[in-house]
Symmetry: C2
């Protein structure tokens, strides 16, 4: 299980940047120099640079050497499927209190989202998420039965469901997230310890495997003074794979979050 060259290179460069060996605003060595240094051809080098570009770590363009940007080191995919991971990255202590887990016939809307038969069973759970001990988010998740069943026996107060599932070999491959705002209902208010009708950030998510079958759908409600969601996107200038990359970061704002006031 050797890691591909371009990944190793990306890791190496990422580390150099993170450790400050290349200062913000400085240029990286040119592709030719990197080729020589690592004794590889230009292909893997370009793949590695493309990866960093998509993470928002570096900028640049045709004829211009890549430049280290003053960017939040954005973690990849898992970072915004996993609350636990996001918390760890940003240096907070994640926690959770399971409120309920059940095997039942879900709501028709949810069944439709998961492409289930109307009378199929699914695993649903309601869990309060904590940051540094304070209520931050309330998640209502629904899993297809075959995926979720092992969860019934697991210790869900222990850690990340995402990590658990991927260990089990479930391939969570893509997700769609929809954001809006809702007023806190009585349950939200009680568990999140906010006033009823106060504004909450809602994230609805459908996660699918690599062939497009929906595996999980979830509705998360965030206390806006404790947790926010941040995403970055970059116009793909790019290299090897013409893509529009976007790296996600879930960040958790301190309650003193600076207000970007209006005009």
């Amino acid at each position: 299980m050797t890691t591909p060259l371009h990944l190793a290179l990306a890791g190496e460069l990422r580390q150099r940047i993170r450790e400050g060996h290349i200062a913000v605003g400085e240029s990286l060595p040119s592709e030719a120099q990197l080729c020589q240094e690592f004794s590889v051809s230009r292909g893997p080098i370009r793949q590695a640079l493309a990866a960093l570009r998509d993470e928002g770590l570096i900028g640049g363009g045709k004829g211009k050497r890549p430049v280290v940007l003053d960017a939040v080191p954005s973690q990849p995919f898992e970072s915004f499927l996993s609350f636990t991971r996001r918390a760890e990255i940003t240096g907070h202590v994640p926690g959770q209190r399971l409120q309920e887990i059940a095997l039942r016939r879900p709501d028709p809307t949810i069944a439709a989202a998961l492409q289930l038969d109307p009378d199929a069973l699914a695993v649903q759970l309601l869990r309060l998420r904590l940051l540094d001990g304070r209520p931050a988010m309330l998640e209502r998740m629904t899993y297809r039965e075959e995926i979720g069943r092992p969860l019934l026996g697991a210790d869900l107060d222990a850690g990340s469901i995402y990590a658990y599932l991927t260990e089990q070999g479930v391939d969570l491959h893509a997700a769609r997230h929809t954001f809006d705002a809702v007023a806190a209902d009585p349950t939200d208010a009680r568990l999140l310890e906010v006033a009823e009708e106060s504004p909450l950030l809602r994230e609805r998510r459908v996660t699918t495997d690599s062939v497009g079958t929906p595996l999980e759908c979830s509705e998360d409600r965030y206390r806006p003074d404790v947790a926010t969601v941040t995403v970055s996107n970059t116009r793909s200038s790019r290299a090897d794979l013409t893509r529009t990359g976007s790296a996600w970061t879930g960040e958790f704002a301190p309650s003193s979050a600076a207000e970007v006031a209006g005009a």
Copy 2:
């Protein structure tokens, strides 16, 4: 100004998928077949496929032919810098009513976000955005003076600022978006025609050029019953890359937005 081969190929394949020549769930031709059909080498073909993969149009993996996913055709970068573009994509009629435009010394917080001197001038504007004639979003934007000055003379009720700026040669290259929820203040309530204190989705954005200089910062408040924000992300099949490709789509929900009810 000839378009690069891989972009042309990506466009061609995208069109075939969108027009249904390749049904959802069907496989695309193998890379070898595509090479033969278009008489190109494998490189550009792979670049094109990578682009589609990142847009969420296709899936697949090592040894597996790419499969057409049942995905929202997500437009790349511009789609979520430009309200106008998002509306057009989703078949709604965008509109805007400029409330105010000014050249002034911005708030310290905003000056800091734009990396301006405390006493530097900036162009600020307050604009109500409409969808199908109904108030949908209120945007408070601040531009660096050199970027924003031409806006003072432009007809801002006519269309997209994003489109206008890119025509002027401004390179908006990357953006960070932070989402949370706020209660409507009196101004929000009046212009968006909602009750005071009702929940609004807030998006704060900082847009930078390709070397990381912040050009614009904005705070948008959405009526959650009219407009939501959707984002998709995909685990980069190409291995880890620790990256996460993500294509954004801003979608506008009908007011009867189905509720994903909780457990």
